[in-house]
């Protein structure tokens, strides 16, 4: 099993004829993802990815013609909130938004609308998700994965790749890897994704990759202690040496006042019985010490 996406996922790519959208749609298709449609206004009727995928003008047309149930968004920041709302309106239940630099106040309204409709949004400014061997949605390189039983959730992009690669090298496979993104306002929190992993009988262990800023890691720690006390879990926090008051790339990664420091997050995680690695390469060993066997 897995969460969010699997081999039955019917994926719609919004912005499929763009440079990024086209490149990554091809990568997703090559990985074996069931890419059923693309949307680019005014390009309806064309076919993308060497003729493999039909393109539609609107999400509603794409859903009606192909039964798409999941979408991934590669359109520019100015158009991305609208793209999320359009796929919601078309009845898509799971939306991944890869686009970065969307104004926070736009996301505030969009996230409220997603919640009101009972849909799920991952991102924005996220790398997407992979269920190894079944489907990949977004921009995570497919080659780093290995199918297995550890679920991973991360606020980061390339740091996630680093950790996944280390796990795969050590023979520890993944059930699903999810990047939730580094923006202050986003669709899914750590806890939202951990709840999905809780309900997945084949996820036996968990990895959480956090970073400085906000309080999402602390909330995840408290949730884990309460709901999954016996599941092996390992974490890593980026930004131990980051200076306070400076925004470290991600809009969300900033230590303000006494809040959001790596120390506070590590203390909460350890207090919840979660081992915290000093380096991404330590994560496989800590997982094995916590009882996870390779495979």
């Amino acid at each position: 099993m897995s969460i969010l996406i699997d081999r039955r996922t019917r994926l719609l790519v919004q912005g499929i004829t763009g440079r990024e959208g086209g490149f990554h749609a091809q990568q997703m298709l090559d990985y074996g993802t069931n890419v059923v449609a693309g949307v680019t206004p005014t390009k309806g009727g064309q076919r993308a990815l060497g003729g493999a995928v039909p393109v539609f003008d609107t999400c509603a047309q794409a859903v009606a013609a192909t039964g798409a149930d999941t979408s991934v968004i590669f359109v520019p920041a100015g158009a991305a909130p609208d793209a999320i709302l359009e796929s919601l309106e078309a009845g898509i239940g799971t939306i991944f938004c890869i686009t970065e630099h969307i104004p926070a106040l736009d996301m505030l309204k969009v996230v409220a609308e997603v919640e009101a409709r009972g849909a799920r949004l991952v991102g924005p400014n996220c790398p997407g998700a992979t269920t190894p061997g079944q489907a990949k949605v977004g921009i995570i390189p497919g080659s780093i994965h290995r199918p297995g039983r550890v679920g991973l959730v991360s606020r980061s992009g390339t740091l996630t790749y680093e950790v996944v690669q280390a796990m795969t090298d050590a023979g520890i496979g993944q059930s699903t890897c999810v990047g939730i993104g580094g923006d202050p306002i986003s669709g899914s929190s750590f806890v939202d994704i951990l709840e999905l992993f809780r309900d997945d009988p084949e996820t036996e262990g968990l990895v959480l990759i956090g970073e400085i800023g906000g309080s999402a890691e602390e909330e995840a720690a408290a949730w884990k202690a309460r709901h999954l006390p016996d599941v092996p879990m390992v974490a890593f926090i980026a930004g131990r040496t980051a200076p306070p008051g400076r925004r470290m790339g991600h809009a969300g990664a900033i230590i303000s006042g006494s809040g959001g420091t790596a120390e506070a997050k590590i203390a909460s995680l350890e207090g919840a019985g979660i081992r915290v690695a000093d380096s991404p390469t330590q994560i496989p060993r800590l997982l094995m010490e916590a009882g996870i066997r390779p495979g």
Binding site: G78, D106, E211, P243, S279
Partner: protein
């Protein structure tokens, strides 16, 4: 982007909120003329305030009261050019001194945990809100604006009554709604008034009390700057490290630090992790630098120039996990920058992921003294060792 007090006050004043009059001076003579105008208008004293983007200017002596034009000029002369936390003061605000009856705190902030705009108030003002949040969290009143409907009048009244402003209800609710309106209208992530004050003024029928915004802080959402063309003019390039300005122009996310190992990484989380590992291995990172996804070779070359512009850099560590970013583009940029650079600094490169094999070939063919590493741990160790050798 942080705004100066005078820019913050101008946004609030344009929104119709009660900001006392102010003027901005860059010379003591200018400050004197402004003080004369206020004093001639019947004001008893003026406050001269340093305009810098760092906190704690009061404690640093950057805020002073003047009772005469001479005094205002002398104080302005002392404050202009003053160093506050490494920032040279280039402007002062001159504003009438208020007779304060009571100070409060009021701010609209982006509440990440609840994904709402939060209006936050405290009946006791002039304090650090972070300190108050830790020592007496119940003293902070919190009201969340609806994400689509906005702040409702009843919520503004709720805040006004909680701050003990029943006698100033109309003005207080207008200020509450105004802060949220400014936040939404300008795409700010913080609009803070500290202190919001009840001030006593002479009216035609004797003294009257009313509310005034005595200090203001606004931070804008960088992602929304493109839809507010006027906002860029409020950026203070004088207070910015020239390296920051160059980084922004090149689309790089760069922060200068105190160490001697320059770091070039793709992705913010991985960039922070690389810094953390350098420190753990006994080195000191010279910077945070995220070249972003899809970086082309010219961007990489610009990143290299930025790192080398810091004379304390003794070694450079490049860590790229290719996804959107292609290893060969990065390698080409590195080779190009290497050919142009005037200063020879050991370079350790680790490129994995998309087109890593092509990258390895490009680096190998370029020859020279580029050190390559396979793992992040190995790359960090070698960079720290090389920086140490240079130092010795």
């Amino acid at each position: 982007m942080k705004l100066h007090e005078y820019h913050a006050k101008s946004l609030l004043s344009h929104a119709g909120l009660p900001v006392p009059p102010y003027a901005v001076a860059t010379t003591p003579a200018e400050a004197r003329a402004q003080a004369v105008a206020f004093l001639d208008g019947g004001v008893g004293a003026v406050v001269v305030k340093a305009q810098v983007l760092v906190g704690g200017r009061g404690k640093a002596g950057g805020v002073k009261l003047a009772h005469s034009a001479d005094e205002a000029e002398t104080i302005a002369a002392a404050i202009l050019g003053m160093d506050i936390k490494g920032i040279t003061v280039r402007r002062v605000m001159v504003t009438p001194a208020a007779t304060i009856v009571r100070e409060m705190y009021l701010a609209a902030v982006l509440d990440r945990a609840n994904q709402r705009i939060l209006l936050m108030g405290a009946a006791e003002g002039g304090v650090e809100i972070e300190t108050l949040a830790e020592e007496d969290p119940d003293a902070i009143v919190r009201v969340h604006a609806h994400p689509q409907l906005g702040l409702q009048p009843f919520q503004a009244r709720q805040m006004a009554f909680a701050l003990g402003l029943g006698e100033h209800l109309a003005q207080a609710t207008a200020i509450c709604r105004g802060l949220v309106d400014v936040m939404v209208g300008e795409d700010a992530d913080l609009v803070e008034v500290n202190p919001l004050a009840i001030v006593r003024e002479d009216g035609p029928d004797g003294p009257v009390e009313r509310l005034a915004l005595l200090d203001a802080k606004v931070t804008l959402d960088d992602s929304a700057l493109r839809r507010h063309p006027g906002h860029e003019a409020m950026r203070d390039l004088d207070e910015e490290d020239p390296a920051d300005t160059a980084a922004r122009a090149a689309g790089l996310s760069f922060i200068r630090l105190d160490g001697d190992i320059g770091c070039m990484v793709n992705g913010a989380g991985l960039a922070m992790t690389t810094m953390d590992l350098v420190k753990r291995a006994g080195g000191e990172p010279a910077n945070f630098l995220d070249i972003g996804g899809g970086a082309r070779s010219d961007k990489v070359a610009e990143a290299m120039r930025l790192i080398l512009s810091d004379p304390s850099v003794k070694a450079i560590l490049v860590n790229i996990f290719g996804g959107i970013a292609r290893g060969d583009e990065v390698a080409r940029g590195l080779v190009e920058a290497r050919a142009q650079q005037t200063r020879s600094v050991p370079l350790v490169v680790r490129i994995v992921g998309t087109n890593a094999d092509l990258a390895a070939r490009i680096l190998h063919e370029a020859g020279g003294d580029i050190v390559t590493a396979r793992t992040l741990d190995e790359a960090v160790e070698r960079a720290v060792a090389l920086a140490g050798q240079v130092a010795a």
